[in-house]
């Protein structure tokens, strides 16, 4: 799958989203609740701006010295009996993970939520070995059972589904017979997955932050599934994006505190688990073998560029939860496992402009994302920067924009042409107009009028220039 979740074209995806009333209602309701919780939890913290400044400083320092901290991490991982593999590509990461799984002759693998394993299509790679790979995060498990429906949110992956749809999935795939009460369905997941946790030979997790000074990895969770996956199986594999690292436990505190608040409005999640190497001598539970896979997969080409700050991201989804565009089109419209503003910034960087050229334009540039980002990524400025790069270097602006810009450049090049244009426009648009509104316009106007009405262009007398001249003379 990689980061791409759909073969549909951008506007097809958006149409599906816009016309999915349940999803739109769910998303707008979710956004309001998540924002409310986030605001409550940050107001209790004192000076939130100081926290943001600190978090930004930590992330910037770590990225500037990333090679140093990753080396320190590697030294400490092996000192504590773990193995570390640096993978430049998704293929390298999957080959290594497959070799570990094969050496254990493992058949059943239990996973906790991890975006980077989605990014590298790890599940498919392991399934090709004949392994059963079970997602244990409740949201991910729902999507997996529902024939691998793609996630629509990075924190709440099944946000687009209602409880009735989930009940049907459970009933179809697992013979579930109880109600659609979320409590009953969560209990069913507990019962169903408990056996898998106890049987799995290998547990695979993501990593919220690695800690360089001790070679530890941390997992920030609520359900307890990540603890299960790292307590029972004899082998643990943890996969991390190479930028997800902090120097010491003191920085871990700051970033975890901000992640829990920004993502779900909690002071801390139910579980923040720091794991270091293999189990120690005398320990009964915990893994006998530990493998840490550090993934580049396109990240190093972002370092050292004007987009470096995008790597500060801690995957909290606060930007997604305030985005007015996400609110209307939903997560699937972005066509990537990374939706919302951060997705619109990251996808063209991890992938390319050919594939993701529309996303930097899927934004009103209102800046709400930038304002809530706990690590101060200037998200909307990076979207503008993408547009600039596409127009200047790659020539990949969407056709309509190019045409409009070209037309405008010609029209605006001379006052007389411009005047002719604005005077003739009302008569050109005339046939499309009804009661002073245009709701089914031609050509480039159609994209706008599909969604809302366009006021009819003013005729002659009160067009802006005429109005302005008139106003100068003291008229209305």
């Amino acid at each position: 799958m990689g980061i791409k979740t759909s073969d549909d074209k951008f506007f097809t995806r958006v149409d599906k989203g816009i016309n999915n009333d349940f999803m739109r209602k769910a998303v707008s309701g979710a956004q309001e609740r998540m924002q409310g919780r986030r605001l409550d939890s940050i107001s209790a913290l004192g000076d939130w701006e100081d926290w943001r400044n600190l978090a930004e400083e930590i992330r910037q320092h770590t990225l500037e010295n990333l090679d140093f901290y990753l080396e320190q991490l590697a030294d400490n991982v092996v000192k504590n009996g773990g193995n570390i593999f640096f993978a430049e590509t998704a293929e390298e990461a999957n080959e290594y993970i497959k070799s570990v799984v094969a050496s254990k002759e493992a058949k059943k693998i239990i996973k906790s939520k991890s975006m980077v394993t989605e990014e590298i299509s790890m599940n498919q790679a392991l399934e090709s070995l004949g392994c059963e790979v079970i997602e244990s995060d409740l949201g991910e498990w729902i999507l997996q059972l529902d024939d691998h429906d793609p996630p629509s949110h990075i924190v709440v992956p099944a946000l687009h589904k209602n409880k009735e749809q989930i009940r049907e999935t459970f009933a179809d795939k697992r013979g579930y017979k109880r109600t659609s009460d979320p409590k009953e369905m969560a209990l069913f997941a507990r019962e169903q997955l408990r056996k898998d946790f106890l049987e799995a030979e290998v547990g695979i997790t993501g990593c919220n932050f690695a800690v360089a000074e001790s070679g530890s990895i941390s997992l920030v969770t609520n359900e307890g599934n990540a603890r299960m996956a790292t307590t029972i199986p004899k082998t643990q594999i943890t996969v991390m994006g190479m930028e997800r690292i902090v120097p010491t436990w003191e920085e871990l505190d700051v970033l975890v505190s901000m992640l829990a608040r920004s993502a779900v409005g909690q002071k801390l999640t139910s579980y923040v688990t720091g794991l270091t190497g293999t189990k120690e001598e005398g320990d009964v539970d915990g893994p006998e073998e530990f493998h840490l896979v550090v993934v580049d997969n396109g990240r190093s080409k972002i370092l050292g560029t004007q987009f470096q700050s995008a790597l500060q991201c801690i995957r909290c989804a606060a930007c997604i939860n305030v985005c007015p565009v996400y609110r209307h089109v939903g997560g699937h419209s972005y066509g990537s496992i990374y939706p919302g503003p951060i997705g619109a910034v990251l996808n063209p960087l991890l992938g390319d402009y050919d594939e993701w050229k529309e996303l930097p334009y899927a934004s009103t540039l209102c800046g709400a994302c930038t304002e809530v980002c706990p690590v101060k990524i200037p998200l909307h400025n990076l979207l503008i920067e993408h547009r600039r790069v596409m127009v200047e270097q790659a020539g990949k602006a969407p056709f309509a924009e190019k045409l409009a810009m070209k037309g405008y450049a010609f029209a605006a090049s001379s006052p007389s042409v411009y005047n002719v244009g604005t005077k003739t426009a009302p008569s050109v648009m005339g046939p499309y107009s009804k009661n002073g509104l245009i709701s089914n316009g031609p050509g480039p106007v159609k994209l706008w009028t599909d969604i809302r009405d366009l006021p009819e262009l003013s005729k002659g007398k009160d067009k802006f220039r005429t109005w302005f001249e008139n106003r100068d003379k003291g008229g209305e």
């Binding site: 769910a26 309701g29 998540m34 913290l45 000076d47 926290w51 400044n53 990333l66 090679d67 140093f68 901290y69 990753l70 991982v77 092996v78 504590n80 009996g81 193995n83 570390i84 593999f85 640096f86 290594y96 244990s136 729902i142 709440v156 099944a158 409880k163 979320p182 997941a189 507990r190 408990r194 946790f197 000074e213 001790s214 530890s216 609520n222 359900e223 307890g224 603890r227 307590t231 436990w249 003191e250 505190d253 700051v254 975890v256 505190s257 002071k267 801390l268 139910s270 579980y271 688990t273 720091g274 794991l275 190497g277 120690e280 005398g282 320990d283 530990f290 550090v294 370092l303 050292g304």
Partner: protein, 239 residues
């Protein structure tokens, strides 16, 4: 302990250094003095009593029952908490603090009741410990450090302190000596940071705030998913 292996490091890190437009850094990087340190201002200068109040308050928000005890009343408060959680089968850490707080007798009494089961974590029994924890109703632990702000207990793994005790049973009961309460995660993180500087940190450092939960279905909060379904804390005045 066997030392692990490193694969593909130099090529990978050289590429990063190249992207950053400089030579590889293998030494000389010092963590800077951060310009802003708001984390140490939270609940600054509060007494243990004030911190305990904040902890109690936060417990209500994280669906956790919070009880108070003195070292004299602790056996009875513990008994009451065990009953409220449904009794039957208990798995305990092998932790000297049970003895220090005179709880040995309480557990002996519990175990002597027909149908009740008690298991104390014993590394010599290997997997048996996990099997018992998996079917136990209550896991009982002692907090190593407690965070008032978030209602969190920090549990450090060790031979007698298995990870499963706070994870596999249906419910989790934690005894919190009042002296272990600190304002927030920052103070606990500094402790672990010092352990790291001194050598190594425990293989599992758990920050646990109440029972497990999920909001993955229509954002409805469900308390109790894979970890314990209920949690009880007992704050005990130090002896």
């Amino acid at each position: 302990m066997a030392v692990g292996t490193v694969h593909n490091k130099d090529k990978f890190l050289n590429k990063i250094a190249h992207s950053l437009g400089r030579e590889r850094k293998t030494s000389g990087v010092v963590r800077p003095e951060w310009k802003h340190l708001p984390q140490y201002e939270v609940y600054k200068g509060m007494s243990q009593d004030e911190l305990a109040h904040h902890l109690e308050d936060q417990c209500q928000r994280i669906h956790t029952v919070c009880k108070r005890a003195t070292s004299q009343t602790l056996p009875n408060v513990l008994k009451e908490a065990i009953e409220e959680l449904g009794g039957k089968s208990i798995v305990n850490w092998d932790d000297p603090r049970f003895e220090e707080y005179n709880l040995t007798k309480t557990f002996e009494e519990f175990a002597s009741v027909e149908g009740n089961e008690l298991h104390v974590w014993d590394p010599n029994l290997g997997e048996e410990n996990i099997k018992f924890a998996e079917r136990a109703n209550i896991g009982i632990t002692f907090s190593d450090t407690t965070l008032a702000e978030s209602g969190t207990v920090m549990l450090l793994s060790d031979k007698g302190k298995g990870r499963s005790v706070s994870l596999l049973p249906a419910t989790h009961l934690v005894i919190i000596p009042k002296s272990t309460i600190v304002p927030r995660m920052s103070q606990a993180a500094t402790k672990v940071h010092k352990m790291a500087q001194a050598g190594r940190v425990p293989s599992c450092v758990n920050f646990i705030s109440g029972p497990s939960n999920s909001a993955d279905i229509e954002l409805n909060l469900v308390v109790g998913v894979h970890g314990p379904i209920k949690a009880t804390y007992i704050i005990v005045e130090d002896k």
